[in-house]
Symmetry: D2
């Protein structure tokens, strides 16, 4: 955690864009580049935003682009994955989990609901209903005073999105910021906040690879706000200390097992 700027890594699986011409046409350099460019171009609407240093990482780089050293210096990690969740090594997942619990922010996008790291941190299946039907999504702001909603209208629309529907198998969010309405008839908790350990997690629903979602100005505003919200406020390494007493403890008549001889326990049986 640095004091004067927020270090962001935008992580992308980056396989759809290389394998499918139509998707590459939407994201020629990969979604990570579009997301990173959006962050650099979009001021957060918070009272006291810090500047960002934005980098990217992808699945097929060594260590998935996420060495321990790099994660140590990362304040907020943004995660997009879909078809290769299992290709992410367990060692990397454990590193990320440790860093979130120490204070690093994590923003999980769209199909990242099924990523190892999201399921690991939340403990649930994170399953949902889905449909690819080129349909309209309208996102409603439920908490307009939440920092992630700063600068948003009361709702905004995406003309084409994949549908995700309830029930979304997540722990009830600490804060529910956005709800989605879908043309085909479903609803979804689309902007969800949790704290885990000392770190903040934001799940943001939109972002199907085949649609230009990350080119949308409202989407970019949400991400810019979410990075400021998720930036660490502490870095605290886990410990489980044996703590000396702060107050005197009265010696009592019957002492228990530490000496290996229990006196008086017969009465208890």
């Amino acid at each position: 955690m640095q004091q004067d700027k927020i270090s962001v890594i935008v992580w992308n699986e980056y396989r759809h864009e290389r394998e499918n011409e139509a998707i590459r046409a939407v994201y020629p350099q990969g979604m990570h580049h579009t997301i990173a460019a959006g962050l650099e171009a979009t001021p957060a609407r918070s009272r006291a935003a810090l500047p960002l240093q934005v980098e990217t990482a992808t699945l097929d780089e060594p260590d998935h682009g996420l060495s321990a050293e790099r994660l140590e210096g990362c304040d907020v990690l943004i995660w997009w994955g879909h078809k290769a969740h299992d290709a992410v090594s367990d060692a990397t997942v454990e590193l990320i989990q440790r860093r979130v619990l120490e204070g690093m922010g994590l923003i999980v996008l769209h199909s990242g609901h099924f990523s190892k790291i999201f399921r690991r941190l939340l403990g649930t299946n994170c399953s949902l209903k889905w449909r690819e039907a080129d349909e309209k999504e309208r996102l409603w702001v439920v908490e307009p005073s939440h920092p992630i909603a700063a600068g948003l209208p009361e709702y905004f629309e995406l003309p084409y999105e994949e549908m995700y529907g309830e029930r979304f198998d997540i722990p009830a969010p600490d804060e529910l910021v956005l709800l989605s309405w879908f043309e085909g008839g479903e609803v979804f908790r689309s902007g969800c906040c949790w704290q885990r350990g000392h770190g903040r997690i934001f799940y943001f629903r939109p972002g199907h690879e085949a649609y230009p979602t990350y080119h949308d100005a409202n989407i970019q505003q949400v991400l810019a706000n979410a990075v400021q919200w998720a930036a660490p406020r502490v870095q605290i390494v886990d410990q489980c200390p044996n703590a000396p007493a702060l107050e005197p403890i009265k010696a009592r008549d019957m002492q228990f097992a530490k000496v290996g001889i229990l006196q008086g326990a017969e009465d208890l049986k």
Copy 2:
């Protein structure tokens, strides 16, 4: 889930009692037997309690006493572990996790805060401060109308307990029922409820192996109540369905990637 009774398995690591004479003096047949006997002798103070069928299981039985078949028929699993958390197989942990997410109740006791299953379901380190000093613990009821608190006085005391102190690294509980005061100067969130998937989880702090905690009538009342509270209300197997639209979806001018040819996306770059 049966309609007419609740099937409970009390699981115990059951090594301290076999290896340490003083501990065996407190729990001659193992803590699981004391806990099970307490459940059988203690009516839950709920408006409409179901009868229990109580069984036990221990670490060193085949499959840790928790075969898939047995867990399938289990409504509420009670868990005491301490020095051999790593000896529990990952396969068993995954089975239990799946069953909790489907609706099975889970009650985690004392040093079970560091068990694989508790950390897996909560996603955090679950670490805390601790001290063995034969000290007094006083448990205060913060939510007297919670079903788990039924029949309890406004506080109750344990003359000898191990101290667990904050910060306890857990997700903020959905419901906080009990707070502990320790003679040596600490406090602790001692009775914590969460829902994960369709299952309910209760963490209950007291229960050091060297003290007669599970012989205490108030402790037995909490456990009897917690079993009724945690008993499943559903059994829902996880799925992530592709869902047909419920409302007509308007065809639009620009169709995206499904046909492999993207039209109009040049405008987006």
Copy 3:
């Protein structure tokens, strides 16, 4: 609170039905009678439901039908009001508030979002968007294991309802059970649970006076379940006791203001 049955009062403003022929055609004896008949005909889908004793009360009865004696014996109060919120006396509102904080359940329906008692207990404006357009509402079950959702399908529809849209100005619910999708494009948190004091509160959105909502079997199921969920588990009268110390308090050198003479405080200025 009785042990063997739940005493329910269905309260209705009962003016629309008397003043408007079309509304009277839907609810000839008033909505309170339809709701009460539904409760009597619909078994709750809970593991251990108690039988109900259902009565009604209306605004224009003496004391609005809610004398202190009657409320004292009431376990769950159901509230429908709309155009005459201000006609409810503050004394009655205070009685109801006291009873909820002591443990009585309260189920607030539809336009009751603007009732004095709902706003009093929640502390917020409870405002929302609205539209009367004979439109379809689809209610999605977000927490299928919640007792209020027992026996419901994954969603159900009402062919005609008034629209209520976000932002709904409420404290974030303790549990969010139902989300609504509206044909006209909005979403709403339609089934919301809170605990206040020792009592449980459930807000249930549907129920426009001009539509046959309370004749619907799914609506009746929700109400039957909600009554069981909201039924009191305790009755605890408010107090703010001066409590003697449970542990010895060490006398210290500098004693403060009780004797009217402060020694040593000069150092603090």
Copy 4:
């Protein structure tokens, strides 16, 4: 809400200090002056704190020092009251409530738990156990990454405080930051956060008038942090709009009551 600084009003009942010599010795100019001076001298430990403009107001000023104009320009109101809660006019309470729901922050101190405004916003009795016995309080930080805990040690002590004990009759806090241990044997939820409407509320337990609590550096740090945390992020005036449909609504066969003639409803009776 101004962009470049936070406007704070420290409100004090200011009667104890004028009526009791011993209390006046601790707070010669009144607690409001000590609290205000502490805020001016204590930097918040947040990443991006704004400067403060701190003023005071007291009960016996005209309008209690809280005219509508003054509250309109106030970002964060700090409230200390005890023996004259009833002397605060209902009109002032309604003004404050409206401003909090619009976004103004509110910090309620110690005996302010029984103030009209706190009970109005929370909806509960806000009662608790209490004892004046010159006893030690130790406050434990439960959420060290919360902005209000920035810069605090893992616990801090006050050598003399009034005891407040559970059960504290409040809605479960959205965030629980501090827990107190008392020498005499009780515990208390001492640092509690809620959002109501668009405003943030923080309750902070310590602050008995007879003890030098507001001279304590840790107490001053908490207040400095809490002001930054509670500062408004929006100002949104309440409304309940009739909203036009965003999507086409299908005309159906059976139209309901708006025309005053109901067709087809006979089937429903």
